[in-house]
Structure formats: structure tokens, C-alpha cells
């Protein structure tokens, strides 16, 4: 077939395509809805939620998890397009870890040394490591589906960034259930759960996001 004929063919398929931005926005909304259904159906708020919302430690968990979700989605918008790399927006991914590290340092300063280990170990580590990945499955699936419609120059990287965003969404829900609010607990266990989801995103992305 001559290229002119081929171009005629392509030009006949001119229905307005979805923009990648809308696809990603839809995926975020879908992912949040799936995680919310799972959360309210299976897990729910912690029993003392009405008192918890008056605690800064409790609220700070959301500052960290929401900033992880928002920055990772923002980075995904860049790495999901041709030519996108971490060079443009990657630094934003340091925001959530920096906030958390800062809070952990404050926690070390204000807590007596004898309290460090009990706060770090907490009571819910096992739930944290299972519920965050579980809640992240829906958001990760939605984000990967949207990225498939994108054209990431680095499929593994795009998958990993989707994993970070999914972890941020999942952690936001999980944090409302978990009664361990110390930054020492959060900085120990949440990143392990995040790493699991991010690794899954990377491995799936490498296969699924080639174009």
C-alpha cells in the first residue's frame, strides 16, 4: 500500500479522541470510587473517629498520603506522554517523603526515648501491609488502563508512578481506619506497603504499557 493511500485511511478515522488528561482524570475518579466501596463495605472508620479528627497526628497522615497521591498523579500526566521523563516533574515526588521524614524527626524530639519502639511497632502493622495493597488494586488497575491509552516513553517508570499514586489513594483510606497515628509508625510501615504496590506497577507497566 502506498503511504498516500494509508494516510487517506487514517484520515477517515478522525473521531475525536479522548485526551490523555481526561483519561487519567477518569481513572483517578474510578480508582477512588472502587477504593471507597471496598473501604466502606469491608473496613470502615476507626471506632474513635470523632475524637481522632481533633488530633494533629491523625490529620497529618492524610497530609502525607494525599500529597503522595496528588504529586504522583501530576507526574503520571507527564511520564504517560511521549518524551516524558522524571526530569520535568520528578522532584515533586520528594514532597510526601520529606513531609513524613520531618514529622518523624519531630516525633523523635517530643517522645521520650522509651516510647520510640512502641510507637514504631504500633498495633496494626500487619493490617497496614495487607490493606494498603488491597485497597490499591482498583486504583492501580484504573491508572494502568489510562496509561495504556497514553504513550509513555518508559513503560516501567510510568507503571511505577501509577503504583505510587494508587498507594497514595489507598493509604488515604487506610489511614482513616488505622489507630496508629505516630509518624514513627507511618514512616516504617506505609513505605513498605507503597513499595509493594509500586513494584507491582513497575512490573505490570513494563509489559502492559508498551506501544
Amino acid at each position: 500500500m502506498k503511504t498516500d493511500d494509508f494516510i487517506n485511511l487514517l484520515a477517515k478515522d478522525f473521531d475525536r479522541p479522548w485526551s490523555f488528561r481526561s483519561m487519567l482524570a477518569g481513572a483517578v475518579a474510578g480508582g477512588i470510587i472502587i477504593a471507597a466501596i471496598l473501604f466502606f463495605a469491608g473496613i470502615g472508620f476507626r471506632p474513635d473517629i470523632s475524637e481522632a479528627v481533633r488530633s494533629n497526628r491523625f490529620l497529618f497522615k492524610f497530609v502525607v498520603s494525599v500529597s503522595l497521591a496528588v504529586t504522583a498523579i501530576w507526574v503520571a500526566l507527564s511520564v504517560g506522554r511521549p518524551g516524558g521523563s522524571l526530569a520535568h516533574r520528578g522532584l515533586a515526588l520528594a514532597i510526601a517523603p520529606s513531609l513524613l521524614a520531618g514529622a518523624a524527626v519531630v516525633e523523635l524530639l517530643v517522645l521520650p526515648e522509651s516510647q520510640w519502639v512502641p510507637h514504631l511497632v504500633g498495633h496494626n502493622a500487619r493490617f497496614c501491609l495487607t490493606l494498603i495493597p488491597l485497597l490499591a488494586i482498583g486504583p492501580l488497575a484504573c491508572l494502568l488502563a489510562a496509561l495504556r491509552e497514553g504513550a509513555p516513553s518508559n513503560p516501567g517508570l510510568a507503571g511505577a508512578v501509577a503504583g505510587l499514586a494508587a498507594s497514595g489513594i489507598a493509604a488515604t483510606f487506610y489511614a482513616a481506619n488505622c489507630t496508629d497515628d505516630s509518624a514513627l509508625f507511618v514512616i516504617t510501615w506505609y513505605p513498605i506497603a507503597t513499595l509493594m504496590v509500586t513494584t507491582a506497577g513497575y512490573l505490570i507497566g513494563r509489559k502492559l504499557l508498551r506501544w
Partner: protein
């Protein structure tokens, strides 16, 4: 992309295409093709790939540009976007053919500034791949590309609705992209 005015034209056509202007979209593709050809030819030449494969590469890149046009951010210049897709696709295609190469994006940007207007070459890859499509998809693709029929004529002849022809065409193009990716027959 040869000049910023060229890139400007591309952006204008593409924006019009996004709101359903088929003519503008055709102009965009016609205008981009010689630039992609120039990049492909310079790459093939430096790697010793047969010249006959240049046009196959051009068509595969155009198909990718077509299917991925939703990833162009309208607030950004279109030239680097075309260059990035071309580069990614070139690396994949040449890797499929057993060549592990790196293609600096600057080289692509440079070659994209050139034009190579040799359009009359016929290609083999696409014709082979058409054979893998479902019969109805193939029929529609042949009708539109080889006979130059429009969507409506094709719909009338095959006793389908125009919408159904459009959907089938779109699926056929997506399937072709998968066939290209999964290796040349």
C-alpha cells in the same frame, strides 16, 4: 517543524482535527510524512538497513501518531511530540529487527527538519498485516484505502451503518498497531 511556521501549521491542523475536521487532519498527516521519512531514511542509512524498509517504518510511525494523538497536550509545541513518538517507534522497530540502538532525541529533531518527498513507494508490511485482520475489517480497510471510497459509500456497499463502518475501521487500525508490535510476519 522545518520552521516554526511549519510547526504552527501542524498544531493548527491538529487542533482542527480534534474537533472533527477530517480535511485538516489529512493535511497534517500529509505534511508530517515527509519529515518522518527523512528521519527514517537517515537512521536506516547509518545502520545499513535496506532502503526498502523506510516506507514501512513511515507507515508504522504515522499509525502510531494517529492512534496516540490524544497524548498531545494542546498547550505545548507539537514538534517535540512528533519527534518523541518517531524516536520511540524507531527504537522499537529497529530493535525488533535485531538492532540494539540508541537514538538521541537531538538527532531526530534535526532530521525531522528535513523533508523527503519520495511518496510513490509501495510497501509490503502493511499488505501482509492486512491479511491478519478479520474479514470485515479487511474489507473496509481495502475499500477505503485502495478504492478510495468514503465511509458512506463503503457503508452503502456493505449494507452497514456509517457508525458501524467507523467503529470497524478504528478497531482495524488498533489491531494493525498490535500486529506491527508483535513482530513482522
Amino acid at each position: 517543524m522545518t520552521t516554526s511556521s511549519q510547526e504552527n501549521d501542524w498544531a493548527v491542523w491538529m487542533r482542527a482535527a480534534m474537533i472533527g475536521d477530517a480535511g485538516a487532519y489529512r493535511q497534517f498527516l500529509v505534511s508530517v510524512a515527509p519529515h518522518v521519512r527523512a528521519v527514517a531514511r537517515s537512521r536506516c542509512r547509518s545502520l545499513g538497513t535496506p532502503e526498502g524498509e523506510v516506507e514501512d517504518i513511515v507507515q508504522e510511525v504515522l499509525l502510531t501518531i494517529h492512534l496516540k494523538r490524544g497524548t498531545w497536550d494542546r498547550s505545548r509545541p507539537i514538534g517535540p511530540w512528533v519527534a518523541a513518538i518517531t524516536r520511540n517507534k524507531l527504537i522499537d522497530i529497529l530493535r525488533q529487527r535485531g538492532r540494539h540502538i540508541t537514538v538521541p532525541i537531538e538527532d531526530v529533531m534535526d532530521s525531522l527538519k528535513a523533508e523527503d518527498p519520495t511518496p510513490e513507494l509501495s510497501t509490503r508490511d502493511i499488505d501482509t498485516l492486512l491479511g491478519h485482520l478479520k474479514p470485515q475489517q479487511r474489507e473496509i480497510v481495502r475499500s477505503i484505502s485502495l478504492n478510495g471510497s468514503g465511509i458512506r459509500e463503503t457503508a452503502d456497499r456493505l449494507q452497514m451503518t456509517e457508525g458501524a463502518v467507523r467503529v470497524t475501521l478504528h478497531r482495524a487500525l488498533k489491531a494493525l498497531a498490535v500486529f506491527y508490535r508483535s513482530g513482522r510476519p
